[in-house]
Symmetry: C2
Subunit: 471 residues, 2 copies
Amino acid sequence: MEKKNNITPFEKDIVKWYSDLVLKSDLVSYAPVKGTMFFKPHGFAIWNNIIKIVNNEFEKLEVEEVQFPLLIPQSFLEKEKKHVEGFAPEVLKVTNAGAKRLAEPLIIRPTSETLFGKYFEENLKSYSQLPVKLQQWVNVLRWENNTRPFLRNSEFFWQEGHTIHATAEEAHEFTKEVFKLYEKIANEILLLPVIAGEKTVSERFAGANNTYTIETILKDGQALQSGTSHYLSDNFSKAFNIKVQNKDNKLFNPYQTSWGISTRLIGAIIMEHSDNKGLILPSKIAPIQIAILTLFGNKNPKVLEVAKELNKKLNFKIKLDNSDRGLGYKSQEWELKGVPIRIEIGPNELDENKVTISLRNFDDKIQYNLNEIDDQFILKLLDKHDKKIYDEAVKIRESKKVEITSVDQIQTIVDNGQYGFAYWIENADAEKQIKTNTGATIRCLIDAEKEGQDIINSKPTKKIAVFSRAY
Amino acid sequence: MEKKNNITPFEKDIVKWYSDLVLKSDLVSYAPVKGTMFFKPHGFAIWNNIIKIVNNEFEKLEVEEVQFPLLIPQSFLEKEKKHVEGFAPEVLKVTNAGAKRLAEPLIIRPTSETLFGKYFEENLKSYSQLPVKLQQWVNVLRWENNTRPFLRNSEFFWQEGHTIHATAEEAHEFTKEVFKLYEKIANEILLLPVIAGEKTVSERFAGANNTYTIETILKDGQALQSGTSHYLSDNFSKAFNIKVQNKDNKLFNPYQTSWGISTRLIGAIIMEHSDNKGLILPSKIAPIQIAILTLFGNKNPKVLEVAKELNKKLNFKIKLDNSDRGLGYKSQEWELKGVPIRIEIGPNELDENKVTISLRNFDDKIQYNLNEIDDQFILKLLDKHDKKIYDEAVKIRESKKVEITSVDQIQTIVDNGQYGFAYWIENADAEKQIKTNTGATIRCLIDAEKEGQDIINSKPTKKIAVFSRAY
């Protein structure tokens, strides 16, 4: 009865499994320009759901939405020294309009710190206007060599936030507030048990004093940077000559933050939660939360009527599949697409006023009395579904974790598809050497519960570095 | 008491009035690249409101949302002959990634027919998959010489729809259905009494068999193309070799439509409805629908309490302005920003349980008993406010209208800031000559109630051409 879904098992080839998944579940298809994609309805609905939830949280922080230009004069990018060094190799350059050569080349935004710098310079006069908290949901472009849908794209979509504050303390506090919010959204909504910490000096955003990051450990033991929040201090404010008057009418450079999450999150969700039958999606971002599948619905008015009533009664995103296909085929399609709950309605069961319910990530099918099924009942099932997703992800994260006591271990650990924790004192040379030798980077520094010995110089420290290969 | 708002009166200089308005009401500010803008929170909120309302309507037509790439290989644009001719002069070309030259130049989308062509070619096999109805809300770029915020930008934002159908009839019908919906949204939501008709052959979209348009007549008598819907027949389907099987397993090229509305609509709204005090915004898209202004609210707990209660009680988008400024200043700010209703709360009036209400586009201030004010009451006021906006726009449109009986009149009409109706039979040569001589174009052809005589050859026709200068 079941048709094979043709997804390569992830135990066999995780790279192929991942690309089979995103293509066959109708999230995206490849577009003609390398690293870009056709974001299809089922995929884009996930992103739209994430946007809605995130916007709701950022409204509480009084962040306002704007939309700034795609194009940046090349000279702008060059104003902040570290910034241009960080982005120059991957920016796309526009040189012509029609047949005419432009006077100055234009850069397609890889990020928009420079435009926000210009904007703040022109629009701010006094401390009384501060803080200003802005965000935009836009496309950005960074030319990449090795691209994979969602995980690494030349064009991707993101939330890009920029704020400006009267004091360094307030700006730094806000940086951390956004960081904590990202951690919360990852854990509670996306069901990604991320590791949250601070980047080392060498891994910071180009132009930031501090970069805070959430990192997801994926099924293959590699880390995916899943959201960052940067404290920019007055670096851009000085580079862009943003000056505002303080209470005593003296001019000063205010303090900035920037932060972002992107469509990479969808990559993290797919890779972390899904299985060989297809997508498994957290219920809060699933485009379809319930699939109601009828058996002979087209030939049996009673079945169809009950299906329609249920569709009307339940306040969730529902797909009513009344097609002529067999229940096996239908189940397989909605499993592939990551629908959390399937409700099967057939004539025999209905005689006893019963329907059969399956959750996407549990094997059993359970009969319920039709009268039991209401919003509260569904919510409980979704909680059960989501809890299992999260627990499994924690299991993956913990199963890949190794304590590192000596640098020599790192090569073996990352070769084994694991990641490691090591007591660490900032040491850019050692960090660089490890990266060159093993491909592992420090994803972030986190606070240890107890003091330990730095693995390079055996000096005491309460910081732990998380080493892994990364996307 | 009133501070001057420094907006140039439109009777004096309509161009300056318009730019004063968009800048001082905080909709946008100019960005560094010509023709691009910083879309500020107050401006972007209008666009977001339009998106929500439009999406709601298009869901009913079963249109799904996607997001396709920004970049198009140059060779794609060249596949449809008329299409490339239409867009080649204004496309922006990406030639470099970092320091490296790209193998093939990439075009920043001026529109996305070619990408949708490719997508349909790759994703469609059988007639049973049809129709497919897709839309995206994206930025597009067309390099322009004379730019003005919203009215003509190098980067603008739009809804871009693309559908594909099994039969020519169905596709053409859908083209007209979207056209009718655009007309309805313009009239009922944006309060723009547009002229709706079909483009002449020479004014069609590059690659379309039919283009339907809604045109707004602005305060200066010029027309603004405010939304278009194109029947593409099988032109792109052939150019992109889109082939699907029919019921008899034979291959055929399906039929397409495309359509769009853009941030130009915001330009139309501003220019058409606003006055010398600032913006006047249709209530359904106003970012703030009610401003509650307190007098001495910070010093008078009773005033503040009532303001907060009202804020909580009313289910509208409300700004509670409890700042220390005088009521005159506050009123002026929210008038400038186009807030439909202002509710002033002061201590003396409160002793009698009264507040004062003004509508943005009426001169009188009226006292109401506090108890009267509920959602129903506000809705009635908003209706009154909106009805007057629409009536005034109809008045403008009608006051600029002239019946043309001879070609010689056209120059005078457009020089007078008017537009004209003329009986017309398609005649590309005459149309071109009028355009060259007078700057007037045929905005669209509409159906006449009665037959009349074509102004060129005096032949009978039931078609009327609308002549005007245009943005």
